[in-house]
Symmetry: C2
Subunit: 134 residues, 2 copies
DNA sequence: CAGGATCCTGGGCGATACTG
DNA sequence: CAGTATCGCCCAGGATCCTG
């Protein structure tokens, strides 16, 4: 280990040492997972995306898509039709990221299931509710 | 705002999307991945954690740990020694989450490698131009 | 050593209006 | 339809000081 270096402790090793976490931060914003998730089934128009992403605004959807495009994770294809049409699709790199997020999603389902069963165990343990299998 | 328009918003993956992404948002903050990553090799003291997480502050580390504890992803064990000692460790659920993040990390490494090779060898015929300056 | 309490700022994010 | 531009809120997150 290194000794105490400088008082200001400017962290330069973080920037150079862990580029993976940097890349991870790039992609950990609020809407990226949802956009990737929606695009996994194939290309989508902007409107479809905006509608199905749900709970977001036009600004955030566009911003997220632009960022993903710049990062090389989605492609943006403009069709010069009478009403402008833009299609977004995952790149191979984007598909890989989507797969990784899929793991997180899988965990989230398990986690949610755990806590739901925890909350409802004391009132009616054997309630005949619809247990959503996801 | 929920107007009459949003009723038509039928999300086919409704069951999977909403609660899962909520749980995902819970865990998508800045320092959670790094803390989980550090804890994967075994329990750690607060100080070790704070030091090795690098680039964060005491507040954020503590805050992240407290949140993870509340979510049932880490355990907090206090040893009543002469100087107080606190050990943090992953719960099984936390380990699962860590594994999921591992996938993201794996992707991040590939992603980083891609862009490094892109910069070294930018003779990419397929790419149009226009990479900066919009 | 572990972490609580505060103050403060940047920017993530939402809402609205306008364009081609 | 597919954005861009602008304003402003709000809070995640950083810095600093203090305690047991």
């Amino acid at each position: 280990m290194e000794t105490s270096r400088s008082i200001t402790q400017k962290i330069e090793n973080e920037g150079t040492m862990c580029p993976s976490f940097q890349a991870l931060d790039m992609v950990m914003d609020k809407w990226t997972p949802k956009v990737l998730f929606l695009l996994q089934d194939g290309p989508m128009h902007y409107m479809q995306l905006k509608r199905q992403v749900g709970g977001s605004t036009q600004k955030m959807v566009t911003q997220t898509l632009r960022k993903l495009e710049k990062e090389g994770l989605v492609t943006r294809t403009v069709y010069p039709t009478s009403p402008p049409t833009v299609e977004y699709a995952l790149t191979p790199l984007g598909e890989m990221l989507q797969s990784a997020f899929q793991e997180l999603l899988q965990w989230a389902r398990i986690y949610t299931a755990q806590f739901q069963s925890m909350r409802e165990n004391d009132s009616e343990a054997n309630k005949e509710e619809d247990f959503h299998k996801n």
